[in-house]
C-alpha cells in the first residue's frame, strides 16, 4: 500500500472503507522495507500498534467514533515519553533509565484522537544539533538522497514522514529543530507559538525556547494534528491557558486579506542561491512585494546561542560531572563549555530578548506574515564539516540554524513549507506569523500548496519495496 495522507486514512477508516488494522499493517510493512536504509526509527512498536488498531476497529464496529485521526499511524521523536518505553532523548545516558510510566501529553492527545503510535524516532543527542548524525544510534539518512543528512534535531521525524513510513510525526524545536529537518527532507513542519502546545512528558533542552510540533506531507494533516494537540495543560508551566484555536477549517480561506512581506537583512543573504530563490518564488505566488526588516536579527541569533548553551548545560550538569565520556562526542564539548558561560552574558541575552520581542511586535502591526528561507543550504552530505556562506568557509552544522534561531528566540509561529524543485534537493521557506496566529501561517501554506508551489510527495527509495 502506498503512503496515504492522514486525513484520507481517517476518513476511510471512519467510513469503514478500510480498517485501522490494514492501515497500520501497511505502515509497519513500509517501515520494515524502508527504515534499514534511512535509520529514522530507534524503536518500532509493532505489536502495540496492531493491538491499538484492533481496538479502534472494534470501537467503529460498535458504532463508536474513535476521533478525527482514526487509524492514522504516527511516530514521535524519542524525547517524548511513551508509557512502557525508555525515553532516550538521543542519548546513551538515558538508556539506563526505567521506561516511562505514562505518555507525554502530546502523545496522549494524538492517541485519544484515534491515531496509532508505531514507534520512536532518532534525533541529535538531547536535541543539541541540526543534522541527526547521532554517534550512538547512527545518522538518519535523508530519504531524498541517502548520502545526505536529514537535518535535526528532529531528523528521524522528518525522514519518517518524507519516506512515507508514517503520514504524521512529532518533533521539538528549540532553535530550528522542526523547521530545519522539514526543509532538508522536503516535508511540512509546524513550530507553533511558544507556549501553545504542552511539552509535558518531553525531555527539555533549553526551556526558554523549547517548543513541540508536528510534521506532515500536507498542510491539512499538519493542521489536523495541530488542532488535536492544542489546549491548556497544567503539567507544562509555560503552556497557555488560552482556549484552542482550530485551524483545519480555516485552510480554504486562502491568503486573501493577509499582508505578506519578505524578511530582509539578516534573512536575505548568504548560503546557496536556491534557498533565496525559493523565497522569491513563494513571494511571487503570493504577490508579496514588500520587504521588512527585523532589526538586529543577527544579535537575536547570538543571544539565542548564549541562552541555549547555558540552559542546556545546567540541565545536564550532573551527567557532565560524572560521565562526560558517555555523551555523543559531536555534542559533549558544547555542553561542557556551556557550564562555564558567565551568568552576566546569559542575563543580558534574556534582556535583549525582551527588546527584540518588542521590535518584532512593532513589525507585525503592519504585516501578518513574513517569508524567509529555512536553511542556508539544501541537505549537506553526512559528515560534511564546512560549507560556503557569503564567500567564507564556515562550520556546516551550527550554521544550519542561522535563519531559524532569531524567530524561535521570540516564540513566533512558523510553518516550514517544502518548495517543489523537480530533480533537485528540496529547500524550505519559513512562513512566519505573529504570536498566536498559526492560522495565518497555515492559510498561506495551504494557498501555496493549492497553487502547486509547495508539495511533499513521499520519496521514492531506490531498491525499497512496499
Amino acid at each position: 500500500m502506498n503512503a496515504i495522507d492522514a486525513a484520507t486514512i481517517a476518513r476511510d477508516v471512519r467510513a469503514r472503507k478500510t480498517s485501522a488494522g490494514e492501515v497500520v499493517t501497511a505502515a509497519l510493512g513500509r517501515i520494515a522495507a524502508r527504515n534499514p536504509a534511512i535509520n529514522a526509527f530507534t524503536r518500532v512498536l509493532g505489536d502495540e500498534a496492531l493491538a491499538a488498531a484492533k481496538r479502534i476497529d472494534e470501537a467503529i464496529a460498535r458504532g463508536g467514533d474513535p476521533g478525527p485521526l482514526a487509524g492514522v499511524p504516527f511516530a514521535v521523536k524519542n524525547l517524548f515519553d511513551v508509557a512502557g518505553v525508555v525515553t532516550l532523548a538521543g542519548s546513551k545516558i538515558h538508556a539506563d533509565r526505567p521506561p516511562a510510566t505514562r505518555d507525554a501529553t502530546a502523545v496522549a492527545r494524538l492517541r485519544a484522537a484515534g491515531a496509532v503510535l508505531v514507534g520512536a524516532l532518532n534525533m541529535d543527542e538531547y536535541a543539541y544539533g541540526f543534522t541527526t548524525e547521532n554517534t550512538h544510534y547512527g545518522p538518519t539518512r535523508n530519504p531524498r538522497d541517502l548520502t545526505r543528512v536529514a537535518g535535526g534535531s528532529s531528523g528521524g521525524s522528518a525522514a519518517a514522514v518524507a519516506a512515507g513510513m508514517v503520514p504524521l510525526a512529532l518533533g521539538s524545536d528549540t532553535n530550528g529543530s522542526i523547521r530545519v529537518p522539514a526543509a532538508l527532507c522536503g516535508v511540512f513542519g509546524l513550530k507553533p507559538t511558544y507556549g501553545r502546545l504542552s511539552r509535558a512528558g518531553a525531555v527539555l533542552f533549553a526551556s526558554s525556547f523549547d517548543h513541540i510540533g508536528p510534521f506532515a506531507r500536507t498542510t491539512r494533516d499538519l493542521a489536523l494534528a495541530f488542532d488535536v494537540l492544542q489546549g491548556p495543560d497544567a503539567a507544562d508551566p509555560v503552556c497557555t491557558a488560552r482556549p484552542a484555536e482550530p485551524c483545519a477549517g480555516e485552510l480554504d480561506r486562502g491568503s486573501a486579506g493577509l499582508r505578506i512581506a519578505i524578511a530582509d537583512g539578516h534573512f536575505s543573504t548568504g548560503g546557496a542561491p536556491e534557498c533565496h530563490d525559493a523565497v522569491a518564488r513563494v513571494a511571487d505566488a503570493l504577490a508579496a512585494t514588500r520587504s521588512v526588516l527585523l532589526p538586529e536579527a543577527h544579535r537575536a541569533r547570538a543571544a539565542a546561542f548564549v541562552i541555549t548553551t547555558s540552559e542546556g548545560a545546567q540541565l545536564h550538569l550532573e551527567s557532565l560531572r560524572t560521565r562526560a565520556k558517555d555523551f555523543d562526542p559531536l555534542i559533549r564539548d558544547r555542553f561542557l563549555a556551556g557550564t562555564l558561560v558567565p551568568a552576566a552574558f546569559y542575563a543580558r541575552a534574556q534582556r535583549f530578548r525582551a527588546w527584540f520581542r518588542d521590535r518584532v511586535r512593532e513589525v507585525f502591526r503592519d504585516v501578518d506574515v513574513l517569508l524567509a528561507p529555512t536553511t542556508p543550504w539544501p541537505a549537506p552530505k553526512i559528515g560534511q564539516e564546512m560549507s560556503v556562506f557569503n564567500g567564507a568557509e564556515v562550520p556546516t552544522r551550527p550554521m544550519m540554524g542561522i535563519f531559524t534561531q532569531p524567530l524561535s528566540f521570540v516564540g513566533l509561529p512558523v510553518v516550514s513549507v517544502p518548495v517543489t524543485r523537480p530533480g533537485a534537493l528540496p529547500v524550505g521557506v519559513q512562513v512566519i506569523a505573529a504570536p498566536w496566529n498559526e492560522r495565518a501561517a497555515l492559510r498561506v501554506a495551504a494557498t501555496l500548496e493549492a497553487a502547486g508551489i509547495v508539495a511533499a510527495p513521499a520519496a521514492e527509495l531506490q531498491g525499497a519495496q512496499g
Binding site: 543577527h298 547570538a302 543571544a303 546561542f305 548564549v306 550538569l317 562526560a324 543580558r348 525582551a354
Partner: protein, 61 residues
C-alpha cells in the same frame, strides 16, 4: 575577540570549580567552543541595551 590563552586559563580554573574533570581532548574542545561563545556573546554585549529593558517574568494568580 578574547585572547585564546585567556580562555584556556579560564577553562583550566573554572572547570574544576564547577566540578568538571576534563580529559585533554575534552579540554581542547571546551576551549574551542567557549571561545566561540565569548565571540558570539560579544554581539549581544556590544548592543546598547537601555537599563530599563527587563526580561520581566510575570506571575499571575
Amino acid at each position: 575577540m578574547t585572547d585564546l590563552a585567556a580562555i584556556e586559563a579560564y577553562v583550566d580554573h573554572a572547570a574544576s570549580l564547577v566540578g568538571l574533570t576534563l580529559t585533554p581532548e575534552q579540554r581542547d574542545g571546551v576551549v574551542r567552543n567557549l571561545a566561540t561563545t565569548f565571540a558570539v556573546a560579544q554581539l549581544v554585549l556590544d548592543f546598547p541595551l537601555p537599563d530599563d529593558v527587563d526580561a520581566a517574568p510575570v506571575f499571575e494568580a
